[in-house]
Assembly symmetry: C2
Homo-oligomer: 193 residues x 2
């Protein structure tokens, strides 16, 4: 069973995905999580504390759904590993949709609110480095700078495609095809250099 | 001198860039534009009318600052034309910053509000087609489908990079370098196909 604080963060991700960061009220979150507002303040101190921990929560959850695999499955090739990590962020499931919407909202609200910026920048950097490391498994001769730039582009593209998908302008299958094409284009460029 | 309606739309872009779509109140917009709320309702009917026309306004403005050039300047090569169109969206000027912030906000709010989706999808399509046509000038042998996919990726990447820039996680010069690298990667891929 999920701990009390996890239960609150799951509810926070749901509320943000449904109504946005700016629609998040502690009273509504308490009702959604089935706890008192006092409990929420006890665990997370204030609204910024809630948002910060929600960011951490959705990152951990993404880490899990993009990397968890059956222990008995064949090991992935480096290219499959890279593709899976990026493409599993583009799935039409409740969990991924919620995660993408909450991430997009935290990103968009950081334009106006400086409090989250540092946490968001750090989480983005970890993600870029993860993708750069996977690219390096496919193209071991590429320089660290080229791998990092490719990782920055692929993750920024994923954010751009997710927003188009969530705002209704792009079908999920087409988003996945575009992402595969981008991986292909970046690998072609790394080979040429 | 700007017409009354343009004056209101300029003010709307400023207010949205400063406080977000969800922070836009007609009273505040009236004060910013120096007109009465009745004047705003007269021109734009309701809040959705304001947002719709603001979207059109920022698109027209982007069209101007990405394509206007000195009549006596040397004509651009197709590659320069493509690069300029994309890179002029990544400039640290008041106009571009406001445009990018307003565009990002309209995109983010369309996740929760269906009213703007159609206009936004249409504006995105026009932009994709413009970039695909420029790519086609550089790589005339590429298929229409490949050019369209590359145009979709480059514009989605630009949206992703702009959001990172505006939310403070990415320097503008580095964003421009990443964009140049993406153009390079897409052209490399179009040549290979």
């Amino acid at each position: 069973m999920a701990s009390r604080s996890t239960q609150i963060l799951e509810a926070a991700a749901r509320v943000i995905a449904r109504r946005g960061v700016r629609g998040l009220r502690v009273e509504e979150l308490a009702a959604e999580a089935g706890v008192s507002t006092a409990t929420i303040y006890y665990y997370f101190k204030d609204r910024t504390g809630i948002l910060r921990h929600t960011l951490e929560f959705i990152n951990d959850r993404a880490e899990r759904y993009t990397t968890d695999r059956d222990r008995d499955a064949e090991p992935l090739t480096p290219l499959e590993d890279l593709e899976q990590t990026l493409l599993l962020e583009l799935q039409d499931t409740t969990e991924v949709r919620e995660n993408s919407a909450a991430w997009g909202e935290l990103r968009a609200s950081a334009v106006f609110d400086e409090e989250l910026r540092e946490d968001l920048a750090r989480a983005t950097l970890v993600w870029i480095q993860e993708v750069a490391a996977l690219l390096g498994q496919v193209q071991p001769m590429a320089s660290a700078a080229d791998l990092a730039a490719a990782g920055e582009r692929l993750t920024a593209l994923l954010e751009g495609l997710s927003m188009r998908w969530l705002s209704g302008g792009l079908k999920i299958d087409h988003a996945r095809d575009l992402m595969r094409g981008a991986i292909d284009a970046e690998l072609a460029r790394l080979r040429q250099k």
